[in-house]
């Protein structure tokens, strides 16, 4: 019943996660400094869009120095500000990650480790000297020096440093809860840990490098988008460059400053400036949810998932069955049955046993009875498959129906005819029947019900609405599985599942072209975790499971998969939405700048000045200023992500096209006009 102990409580606060305000002083100030430092061609060249802006700034600055005018100087300043704002956006996202990384680093203060050699001699070493395969001893109060696997003993461990969950968890050798994380604290008992990761490669190290974004690799979709943005930047270069000869041919004087301004306004600076922050912030949000992704690729894959495999126990249902009903048979009353069942369960410390006591109290107010008579408890064994109480001459038993039937018959009793009917009905509804007898008489059946988690049905409904199919995995027989599946609202189930069945199911889904996600914690889950496109290993699980999966959930809460899917989708949506917005913005900028470029030669073109901007100079300035300010305005959106409301692809698309496409078309017309009204007062 370890499940019960390790069952995490939903937590909102997080050790590493903790939601932080968007603009913290500790983050904003260094970010401002960092944004100036990033004005370095070597840094900028990584972002082709902003690199072009930087070059443009230099060209305009050159013009402004050799033929200074209020206009050229102002354009140079605002172009430079555009570069700074893009840097600031990235520095903000990185800074937030660094703040998290720093708090993680504090946990890495060098602890002493008690290394034991092969012949059992203990020596004190510095934790960072530990090698893979070393065995160390940890006792109450010790900090576990590095990631490892318990080879001996059982202990309660405080993992709040990484999970934020203050309730201690049990970790023991063998089984599925043998992994421990460096930096966590042993609260009781003594364990021997075999080190599985050296300093620099531990869980914590990976987490730090992940949130810092230092070695951040671009995700596949990000790479593809960068290519598209580079293409859109490259195409605007000739578009703008040839305007000079075109203008000369047509007899129009075209100013270089205006051409550069137009170029910067047309290339997708908004998304170009915010692209990397979206990626960093997405990983950050995931860490806030206490999920550790091994790569950004895995997060993106989560957004693509079409099939979700979920273990029944712990994910769909609460870990344990609960007594829900007393069903008497023959002439016995419900009270009689409840009384016997309660007595038989008094010494039963299993959650099922306790739930019978609770139900009896709730229904009939049956409390602890004084058992004056001589009595002894009969514990459950795998052979008898019953437990109970011998009190006086009475033998009260509860257990599997078949076992109780055999017991009663052996004592010379009759099995009531309706018993089979009742038990069959209970099984069919997805519950487990537990027969209760006194001596050679069967009183009735206790229904033990799988309790489906609150709100889980709604979550599955939501998943269905975004096109994700849920499959419940259970060891139950098909009858029970079907009933629970129906109650929980999953789309399908796999009953009497073995690890091989799981693997097979994943392969079958993948062969149909579906991306599959699953959660798991046991060593026997490892092959399936590795096969799944997204494998979320529970932090409480075995090392093998953690290595096979591509994400680790620090809270060991299997429902978390759903959050991961949402974050994956949100990252993509934010990128797509800002790209659309960025491109849609160009239309208004054209209507501001094109008439300004050629209106002196072709006054008729003022018809294109539909915003009625004050002057050619004010029009160009307004477009450039709008272009710079919109980056700042969208930083919160990039860091938080576009709101994701679960609905079908068509609905999501329609909404985002309206907001970011149509909105992106209209907003700059208003924005540029407002800025024009302001700058025209400044003498442009």
């Amino acid at each position: 019943m370890n499940t019960a102990l390790a069952e995490p409580v939903e937590t909102k606060k997080g050790g590493m996660g903790g939601k932080r305000p968007l603009f913290e002083k500790e983050v904003v100030l260094p970010a401002l400094i960092e944004s100036v430092k990033k004005v370095n061609p070597k840094v900028q060249i990584k972002n082709p869009v902003m690199f072009v802006v930087l070059i443009g700034t230099v060209v305009v600055a050159y013009k402004a120095i050799f033929s200074p005018s209020l206009f050229s100087i102002s354009v140079a300043v605002w172009l430079f500000l555009t570069v700074l704002m893009a840097n600031f956006a990235e520095a903000m996202a990185e800074g937030r990650g660094k703040a998290q990384a720093n708090s993680l680093r504090k946990m890495q203060t060098d602890t002493q480790a008690r290394l034991i050699s092969a012949d059992g001699i203990e020596t004190l070493v510095v934790a960072s000297d530990l090698k893979k395969g070393d065995q160390v001893v940890c006792e109450a109060g010790d900090i576990i020096p590095s990631d490892g696997e318990i080879t001996e003993g059982v202990a309660s461990v405080d993992e709040s440093a990484i999970t934020g969950e203050s309730a201690p968890v049990i970790r023991e050798s063998g089984g599925d809860r043998s992994a421990v994380t460096g930096g966590t604290k042993v609260l009781s008992d003594r364990i021997v840990v075999k080190i599985t990761a050296e300093r620099g490669h531990t869980f914590l190290d990976r987490m730090i490098s992940l949130v810092e974004g230092a070695e951040r690799q671009k995700t596949p979709n990000e790479v593809a988008l960068t290519i598209l943005l580079a293409a859109l930047t490259i195409v605007f270069l000739p578009v703008i460059v040839v305007l000079q000869p075109f203008g000369i041919f047509s007899g129009a004087h075209v100013s270089v400053v205006t051409l550069v301004a137009l170029l910067v306004c047309l290339i997708p600076t908004t998304i170009g400036a915010l692209l990397s922050s979206i990626g960093i912030a997405g990983m950050d949000r995931l860490v806030q949810k206490n999920v550790l992704a091994m790569s950004g690729r895995a997060v993106e894959a989560a957004g693509d998932v079409q099939t979700l495999l979920l273990d029944k126990t712990g994910t769909i249902t609460l870990g344990n069955r609960m007594a829900s009903r007393f069903v008497p048979v023959a002439s016995h009353s419900e009270l009689e049955l409840a009384l016997a069942a309660q007595m038989a369960s008094l010494a039963d410390e299993t959650p099922e046993g306790r739930s019978i006591v609770v139900l009896a109290k709730d229904l009939f107010n049956i409390r602890e009875q004084n058992m004056s008579e001589e009595h002894s408890f009969v514990p459950f064994t795998a052979q008898t498959r019953m437990s109970g109480l011998d009190i006086g001459d009475s033998k009260i038993r509860k257990g599997a129906t078949e076992a109780v039937k055999a017991w009663v018959t052996a004592l010379g009793g009759q099995v009531p005819s309706e018993l089979d009917e009742v038990t069959a009905a209970i099984s069919k509804s997805g519950s487990t029947p537990l027969a209760v007898s006194i001596d050679n008489e069967i009183l009735g059946v206790v229904e033990l019900k799988d309790i489906v988690k609150d709100g889980i049905k709604e979550r599955f409904q939501m998943l269905r609405s975004i096109g994700i199919k849920t499959i419940m995995i259970t060891g139950d027989n098909p009858l029970t599985a079907a009933a629970i599946a129906a109650e929980a609202g999953v789309d399908d189930y796999l009953a009497e599942a073995t690890p091989e069945d799981k693997l097979e199911l994943i392969r079958a889904n993948q062969a149909e072209g579906k991306l599959v996600a699953m959660t798991g914690d046991g060593t026997n889950d490892a092959p399936a975790l590795a096969q799944a496109d997204v494998g979320v290993a529970m932090n409480s699980g075995t090392v093998a499971a953690k290595e096979a999966g591509n994400m680790v959930d620090l809270d060991s809460n299997p429902t978390k998969l759903i959050d991961v899917v949402e974050i994956g989708k949100q990252m993509l949506i934010t990128r797509g939405a800002l790209t659309t917005f960025s491109i849609a913005n160009d239309v208004a900028k054209y209507f501001a700048i094109i008439p300004a470029l050629f209106v002196s030669e072709f006054p008729g073109l003022s018809a294109l000045n539909i915003m009625r901007l004050h002057s050619p100079d004010s029009a160009v300035m307004s477009a450039v200023i709008f272009n710079a300010l919109i980056i700042i305005a969208l930083i919160p959106l990039a860091l938080r992500g576009v709101k994701f409301k679960p609905s079908s692809a068509s609905q999501i698309l329609r909404r985002n096209v309206m907001i970011y496409g149509v909105g992106g078309l209209i907003l700059p017309f208003i924005g540029i006009k407002v800025i024009d009204l302001l700058v025209s007062h400044l003498g442009f």
Partner: protein
């Protein structure tokens, strides 16, 4: 017949033939139609082609490029040697090297840009063997590329996208030749000439009237000129010449033939990928542009130009008749020219140069959007598929999934290829135009100064860069500079899109298909169609808007100022 009725008849006729020609073409390329097997088989045997062997995209593209190179050399040689090759009743001398280069590139790339007057430059041998045969071949090459790309979308985990030699042969044999044959007979029946005698000399002794009437194998070239969206006329006047386009019926038939294959290919596409609605979505996007341009063009040409108004003619019941054939009138002329410029055909039955600025803009607009409305045979489909992939990428991100088109994931490689294919044309056209206006060799050919002259240059390169071939006129482009720069632009405009399209087909063929779900961005909906229209419009609009504002827009908005 009124314009409205003409359009109704055309729409109904195309609507009916859409599914027939579409499913027939699907059967041809899937090799289920074999009624000409007795001709096909010997062709393979003679050429040493193993028609059972499939090619990967690299082999397919290499075959195509090598073949086109050979065709180019072959055409060039004929034009240079035409004085010695016979079938030359008018004793045309060899075509000059620059012009021969431009012309052979032009016909091999399905452009049919003509820096010459056919009747006074080309021998019949050149017209038939060099030019008309390229009209069949280049058209079939275009369809083959489209089919190769669609196979890539359709197939899974496949290393091959078909066999270029087989696709090329079958396109000519089963599709182009039979339809062109029937259409030629109709043209002849309507009065288009088709003869190997060079000319008739008319001399009326009573009034002393003398006229030399040039003839030639016109009708047979006419059918494939339209059907293969080639556009290269036998005569300089092209579709305005009574021997090419004798009657109102041939005028409609020409428009029908131009649209037949580009429109039908959307059905072929739908059928090949297993959902007609997918093809319908593309067709709808094409139609939105087509009818918008048509409506703008028709309304623009109802008014006279500024020049005519200056001359004191303020109102004309029949619209802007300058440069138009009296037989057709303003509306039918617009119908023909707008169709031709939106299909990469480029044949014209009226002079673009004399259109109103906005009328001229509609012709240019169709080309600037990349010739996808519906575009040329094959090229229209493969180009709009490139746009569709860009659309799917941006739209797909917005629904929170790795974008996919027809179940194929669109990732870095696909985005790169689609972006190259979509953007190479505007870059080429703008750079070439920029060079032309900057150097004296470019400026010298311009007849009109200012925005109109600029429009002439921009139009010339836009037309060649999109393998359209229609000319704005007013630009003396038979110069070494325009011949060679134009040829380069045509080559880039053709192969710069074909190669990425085939590479994309190869990349997609290797991928597996992701199963559709509610979370999939659907590409057979009105929403997708709208997004596709937006992407085409924005890419075309954003890249050409500044240039257009110096050309037709400046002219139009200058309210009667003459350039």
């Amino acid at each position: 017949m009124s314009t409205a009725w003409t359009i109704v008849v055309l729409v109904v006729a195309l609507g009916i033939s859409w599914r027939f020609i579409g499913s027939y073409m699907e059967a041809v390329y899937e090799r289920r139609v074999n009624w000409l097997r007795f001709i096909e088989r010997p062709i393979y045997r003679v050429c040493g082609i193993d028609d059972q062997v499939e090619q990967g995209w690299r082999r397919y593209a290499t075959s195509l490029v090598v073949f086109s190179g050979v065709a180019l050399g072959f055409t060039y040689l004929i034009l240079r040697l035409q004085g010695h090759l016979g079938l030359n009743p008018l004793h045309q001398p060899a075509v000059t090297p620059a012009l021969a280069f431009n012309t052979s590139v032009s016909f091999v790339t399905n452009t049919n840009w003509q820096n010459y007057s056919g009747e006074t430059t080309m021998s019949f041998f050149s017209q038939m063997i060099a030019l008309a045969s390229q009209m069949f071949i280049s058209a079939s090459v275009g369809i083959a590329v489209a089919v190769g790309l669609v196979r890539g979308l359709k197939r899974q985990h496949s290393k091959t996208i078909g066999n270029f030699w087989v696709d090329l042969t079958r396109g000519i044999l089963y599709i182009l030749l039979p339809i062109a044959f029937v259409a030629s007979i109709i043209f002849v029946a309507q009065g288009a000439v088709d003869t190997l005698s060079g000319s008739i000399f008319i001399h009326n002794p009573l009034d002393g009237f003398k006229q030399l009437i040039l003839l030639g194998p016109v009708a047979s070239m006419e059918a494939i000129k339209e059907l293969g969206t080639n556009g290269g006329g036998f005569f300089n006047a092209n579709g305005a010449h009574p021997f090419e386009n004798p009657t109102g019926l041939t005028n409609i038939l020409s428009i029908y033939l131009i649209l037949l294959i580009p429109v039908g290919l959307t059905y072929t596409f739908g059928k090949m990928v297993g959902s007609i609605k997918q093809g319908l979505a593309l067709l709808a996007a094409m139609a939105i542009f087509f009818f918008s341009f048509m409506a703008i063009g028709l309304s623009a040409e109802q008014h006279t130009t500024a020049a005519v108004a200056k001359a004191g003619i303020t109102h004309s019941a029949s619209g802007n008749m300058v440069g138009k054939e009296a037989r057709f009138g303003a509306s039918s002329s617009v119908l023909y020219n707008v169709t031709s410029t939106q299909t990469s055909t480029g044949s014209v039955n009226s002079s673009m140069d004399s259109y109103t600025p906005i009328g001229g803009l509609t012709a240019m607009g169709g080309m600037m959007l990349g010739e996808v409305t519906p575009g040329g045979v094959g090229s229209g489909l493969y180009t709009i598929l490139l746009f569709a992939i860009v659309t799917v990428f941006v739209g797909g991100l917005m629904v929170g999934r790795t974008p996919e088109y027809l179940g194929k994931k669109i990732q870095a490689r696909e985005v790169k290829l689609a972006a190259i294919g979509v953007l190479i044309m505007p870059i080429t056209v703008l750079v070439a135009s920029g060079i032309a206006v900057s150097i004296s060799q470019g400026r010298v050919g311009v007849l009109n100064p200012g925005p109109h002259g600029f429009s002439e240059i921009l139009y010339a390169f836009t037309s060649q860069g999109n393998n359209n071939g229609s000319a704005f006129a007013g630009l003396s482009s038979n110069t070494a500079f325009y011949n060679i720069s134009g040829a380069i632009v045509m080559l880039i405009g053709r192969f710069g899109v074909i190669l990425p399209a085939l590479a994309l087909g190869g990349a997609l063929a290797e991928k597996g298909v992701v199963a559709p779900s509610l979370g999939t961005f659907r590409t057979d909906t009105i929403l997708f169609c709208g997004l596709l229209v937006g992407v085409i419009l924005i890419i075309g609009g954003l890249t050409f808007f500044p240039a257009l504002s110096l050309g037709p827009l400046a002219e139009q908005l200058s309210h009667g100022r003459l350039f």
